[in-house]
């Protein structure tokens, strides 16, 4: 293993895992650089890039004016010239300002004229922190149907580390969403020698026999919480953590559903037009005859993300809501 690999196994937070992945890829490859708002001296709004300016200097850690479309476009241009930019959005909500660059340009170049765009677009996402409508986005559905992009949305520190390094090495534009609720609450151990984990592969987060919950990111932890409650009642749910939404590990989804004969898709998105809907459709099309119950979706309200904790709690899925829906499906 090269010097870029982690040394002995170490416990890190989800946030530290991401910072380490960036630093390790930058040490391994001079083409990798960071660009975004306040990523340099300040170390990013959440301090993910803290210390990287000191180690790598302003050539490779580039602070920009507030111009998401501008610096995303510049990163695409640099990527086309053979560099490996990693773009940080201060909050992933602000990627909306760069939507044209990401969807119309970055995602289409390979198809239209054969030009690869090796690029990572990353930032803090998700709610449950009273961030309100402009600082709580889960934007995966906006990009899920856009051709040419990959979408990674990890739930654990180990996955965040290994998948981010894989995303940086991938020759395509990769959206890498980091649920901010997990940044300092989730810890994990990076195994000795870990470099990359493959994109496009789901992870079995829990084995069970009665129903499959397909989910990703922070909702994996909600599903695990519900699983403990349900196990006490004799209901064993299986949890498939997709980790990568695009490409989606459909084989892992179908294999689990064919075993448990029930499927529920849990996600932190408004249900209408969600990625969860795409997962449910795939199950309905390809595993219909294995199903003992309708495919269910548990997600957010079809509203903007509200601010006040009672409102946001009501808006978000949680373990109790999930468990209630699982009971209906299993007993039905």
């Amino acid at each position: 293993m090269s010097a870029t690999a982690t040394g002995a196994a170490t416990e890190v937070t989800f946030l530290e895992a991401i910072g380490r992945a960036l630093a390790d890829e930058m040490r391994a490859d001079d083409r990798v650089f960071l660009i975004g708002e306040d990523v340099g001296r300040y170390g990013g709004a959440f301090r993910v890039t803290a210390g990287l300016l000191d180690e790598f200097g302003p050539r490779r850690v580039i602070d920009t004016p507030i111009s998401e479309s501008g610096f995303t476009g510049a990163a695409i241009g640099a990527a086309m010239m053979g560099l490996r930019p990693v773009v940080e959005y201060q909050f992933i909500d602000f990627i909306a300002n760069a939507f044209d660059m990401v969807v119309n340009f970055a995602g289409t170049n390979r198809y239209r004229w054969g030009q690869k765009v090796p690029l990572v677009l990353r930032g803090p996402s998700g709610g449950r922190v009273s961030g309100s409508a402009f600082h709580s986005a889960n934007p995966e559905a906006y990009f899920h149907r856009a051709p040419g992009l990959k979408i990674v949305y990890p739930a654990t520190a180990e996955d965040a580390y290994g998948l981010l390094r894989a995303a940086i090495r991938d020759p395509n534009p990769v959206l890498f969403f980091e649920h901010k609720y997990l940044y300092r609450r989730v810890k994990g151990t990076l195994p000795e020698g870990l470099e990359t984990l493959p994109l496009g592969r789901a992870r079995l987060a829990r084995a069970g026999r009665d129903l499959t919950v397909i989910t990703w990111s922070a909702m994996v932890h909600v599903a695990l919480e519900a699983a403990a409650t349900l196990a006490a009642e004799g209901i064993e749910i299986e949890i498939v953590d997709l980790r990568t939404l695009k490409p989606m590990d459909e084989a892992a989804i179908l294999a689990s559903v064919e075993k448990t004969n029930r499927a529920l898709v849990l996600s932190e998105e408004p249900v209408t037009g969600s990625v969860a809907g795409d997962v449910a459709a795939r199950i309905a099309e390809r595993a219909f005859w294995s199903l003992d119950a309708p495919v269910a979706r548990v997600g957010c309200l079809d509203t903007p993300v509200p601010y006040s904790p009672p409102l946001e709690d009501f808006y978000l899925p949680n373990a109790a809501k999930l468990a209630a829906r699982v009971r209906e499906l299993v007993s039905g």
Binding site: G70, F71, A79, M81, Y111
Partner: protein
Amino acid sequence: MTTSASPLGPLHPDVEPRRERLAATALPRESQLELYRYLQLNRRLEDRLTNLYRQGKVVGGLYSSRGQEAISVGSAYALGPRDVVGPLIRNLGSLLVRGVAPREILTQYMARGTSPTGGKDCNLHFGDLARGLVSPISMLGALVPVLAGVALAAKYRGEDSVALTYIGDGGTSTGDFHEGMNLAAVLEVPLVVVAEHNGYAYSTPTERQMKIKDLAQRAVAYGIPARIVDGNDVLAVYEATRQAVSEARAGGGPRMLEVKTFRMKGHAEHDDAGYVPPELFERWRARDPIARFERHLADEGLATRAELDAILADVDRRLDEDVDFALASPWPPPERALEGVYEEGET
């Protein structure tokens, strides 16, 4: 001096100089004849495309650079082999100067399987970094930050190549233009932006797009040096671009040129431009960049009529061959539509 401080804009005919002499240049005769060849290739290829469009052979829209050829040709001619260009829809001449063959353009417009994109995209919408070309982007302004990033990559690697892109008067109102110009200025990257002031954004005249007279005024706000250039003088465009490229290459940061010109057709072939006062067309027809350059070549004793005719005959022969090639080219196989969304493997 190759540039003029006075506005040459279509909206200010009273101050339009009547100057017939083209800008001074040290370009040798052979190079000037090469410029002439590119100008004529640009115009005559577009004339062929207009005919093919009327025959229903062009399956999408057709966009003309008529009257603006000197800008594309003159600016691209000022670049070095490792420089990178991001052209827009009216920059056919830039592609030709970078070595794109007419048949590539013809098969693109005609959506044939032999086109550079294999039928996947239209008109000039392809790139080839081996020839220093980035694909145009229809969303105007977007190329400015993208080419700023191309320039950033050169600076990152310590290379001295320069990125050049174009914008129209309409495109300078976009957020991407602003973000790209400002970013390029702050990052001090070697970017040259050629702003073509051709009087109309589709049907909207400049005075309905902005409250300033010169696009160069926009550059002032970014701290980017800009010059106003006669866009219908290929030598002026060449010399001004050469100077701007040289300054950017030397580490001076971005540069902008405002080139005053006029769009001599509608936005696209379907548009009869009935909203343009006929006298504007007349005034600008008298300033046609190719006719002016021909007179310059004759006045300076650089070419005889017979020599120019020989160039034209060669251009026409080349176009005959390439039109035949495009017409004989097959459609792409339908299942190609599935191919190439992702790059496979690690980098």
